[in-house]
């Protein structure tokens, strides 16, 4: 294995023992970026200079005998919707193409304080609206397992970067599946924590009652370590939960005897690729072999989650994105040559030129759902059904510790395959969306392959039940080898030298 293939906890151990320096690790990751980024295109902005400065600082501290934090010196990539002071933060949108935040998101502050080495800002669907990263205004990111396929989305950049070894771990955001679905499609671990566990301060808002930041990692231990770092109350986010934060690594015992696992049959219905179903069923059998008590159960409101989401999320987005008006920051359209515009015309021209098609579509949908005459029929109705979905989960968690399902109904699809039909694209988040509506935590862990493309197992827990999810995921992972698989990605130079094809299965 190469340095860039190792996990954060493995690298941290080498760094702490002095067997590798943070600078060497950083160099390994940047030379990997050099090698494969042309094919993967995960990064919007690279921060190489800053990364080396941070790495050298960690090395100096170690030489001075200071105790290093568990993730000090480890290269991390950040989804480009989290504010980074002095480093442009675009949301992969033309409207924020040149936006340089004057402050850091709380999670970025926490990473910096912990000695993290920031590699750069990662590509995404514009404003996190999408499931394939094809909605980036700049370029699509490709799946490291097959360059003709999408990495999923909206956090396709973070997922592809970690899978390709272009970052050791990454932070993404998840509004309807935007961490778990790309993690599944790229064969890595991705977690959406409980709403309110991780501060959203400095995360560019999409749908404020659903958005949550979480980790992309190569294994479950790394996931627990990153969660330790970013979880916790923040006075700068009024929706941040005041709950105490446990040491999440303490749940990694490997013992799941007697853990009660529910399998909602509605998550195995129409639209699920039978090969994915079989892979996930095998994973569930493995959990039973390890001593968990597995039972089929019912989640009757499952089919209503997607329509509810596609009313609530656009409604909140239409309100949040009203701030992009060309006044205080971001893009402002200029008047046609020789003409003048008034302020309303400036707003309209700015927003029409600055937003891409999917963002406009969702703003339109949300504006309609909130407009007078339709508010009760769409928005209020959706909020009531949201209560039914939330209560349904609460009922299930009276009987089960964890619920399991596939993360995504299909493995990675080809670029362009679903781009023409928004509704088909929306269906790829059918298993992840209910979780955001209820605010509960969930994780995707690699559980096999279909035609050489990764499949993820989706574990859902009760609110603030990250520990039990990590416990089950860890036990599963330690008894399988999927998390150790790496994509056969070589980079064009090496391909030329060896005459082999790259990016295939």
């Amino acid at each position: 294995m190469e340095i860039y293939d190792l996990t954060a906890h493995e690298l941290a151990e080498y760094i702490q023992k002095g067997e590798l320096s943070a600078e060497e690790v950083t160099r390994a990751v940047f030379s990997r970026i050099q090698e494969v980024e042309e094919d993967v295109q995960a990064y919007v902005t690279l921060t190489e200079e800053k990364a080396y400065a941070q790495a050298r600082h960690v090395d100096e501290q170690r030489r001075a005998g200071k105790k290093l934090g568990p993730l000090a010196g480890i290269p991390v990539g950040i989804k480009d919707n989290m504010c980074t002071k002095g480093i442009r933060t675009t949301c992969s949108s033309r409207i924020l193409e040149n936006f340089v935040p004057p402050y850091n998101a709380t999670v970025v502050e926490k990473l910096e304080a912990a000695g993290a080495v920031m590699t750069g800002k990662l590509n995404m669907d514009e404003f996190a609206m999408g499931s394939s990263t094809e909605n980036s205004a700049f370029f699509p990111t490709r799946n490291p397992w097959d360059l003709n396929c999408v990495p999923g989305g909206s956090s396709g950049g973070p997922a592809a970067a970690v899978a390709a070894g272009e970052a050791v771990y990454a932070l993404g955001s998840d509004t309807g599946g935007s961490i778990r679905q790309p993690a599944s499609l790229c064969g890595i671990v991705g977690m959406k924590p409980t709403y309110g566990l991780v501060s959203r301060y400095g995360l560019v808002a999409f749908a404020s009652s659903l958005d949550q930041i979480g980790p992309f990692t190569k294994d479950v231990r790394d996931c627990a370590l990153v969660l330790n770092l970013i979880a916790g109350h923040d006075p700068m986010d009024s929706t941040s939960a005041p709950n105490p934060v446990p040491d999440y690594t303490s749940f990694l015992t490997g013992d799941i005897k007697g853990v009660k696992i529910g399998v909602p049959r509605e998550f195995f219905g129409e639209g699920l690729d039978p090969r994915v179903a079989e892979t996930v069923r095998n994973a569930i059998d493995k959990l039973a072999d390890l001593g968990a008590i597995v039972e089929e159960c019912s989640f009757p409101y499952a089919e209503y989650a997607l329509p509810v989401y596609y009313i609530i999320a656009p409604a909140e987005a239409s309100s949040n994105l009203a701030r992009y008006d060309g006044v205080c920051y971001g893009y402002r359209a200029v008047p046609e040559k020789g003409e003048k515009y008034d302020i309303i015309e400036m707003y309209m021209k700015t927003r029409s030129e600055g937003f891409g098609a999917e963002v406009k579509r969702r703003i339109m949908l949300g504006t309609y759902a909130l407009s007078s005459g339709y508010y009760d029929a769409y928005y209020l109705k959706a909020l009531k059904v949201r209560t039914l979905i939330k209560d349904d989960f609460a009922r299930l968690f009276e009987n089960y510790d964890v619920l399991v399902s596939p993360t995504s109904p299909t493995p990675a699809f080809r670029l362009g395959e679903k781009a023409g039909d928004p509704l088909t694209m929306y269906l790829s988040d059918i298993y992840t969306i209910p979780v955001n509506l209820a605010g509960i935590p969930a994780l995707s862990v690699p559980c096999g392959f279909v035609d050489g493309l990764p499949v993820g197992l989706h574990l859902m827990g009760p609110a603030f039940g990250e520990g039990i999810i990590l416990k089950v995921a860890y036990a599963y992972e330690q008894n399988t080898s999927y998390h150790r698989a790496r994509p056969p990605l070589q980079g064009r130079e090496k391909v030329k030298a060896s005459g082999k094809t790259s990016g295939g299965r």
Binding site: Y304, K360, L423, Y426
Partner: protein
């Protein structure tokens, strides 16, 4: 079709979006298909159900009313598309 072209134009104005003729037609068709799909939630009886605006049981979050540092003026204005001294400059309003 639930949404007419006139309604699309009205919603676009509310959302401050200038749409081309082609966009109006495309969005009309796409929004209609999403709205039709969303119809299934009307099968559910929600008469006695309270809406969930927010999942956490936290309300009225307060903090001590103490002075704290704010962003310096220069940094606040650094992203301004157009500035005039210490002001954001905009086109004529009235």
């Amino acid at each position: 079709m639930k949404l007419s072209k006139k309604e699309v134009e009205h919603v676009a104005l509310l959302a401050r979006l200038a749409l081309s003729e082609e966009e109006k037609e495309r969005f009309r068709a796409q929004l209609n298909s999403v709205l039709e799909y969303a119809e299934i939630i009307n099968q559910l009886d929600t008469e006695k159900v309270a809406p969930t605006y927010h999942v956490l049981p936290i309300q009225n979050v307060e903090r001590p009313d103490k002075e704290h540092e704010t962003l310096p003026l220069e940094e606040t204005l650094q992203n301004a598309p157009q500035r005039d001294g210490n002001y954001f400059r905009v086109p004529r309003i009235i």
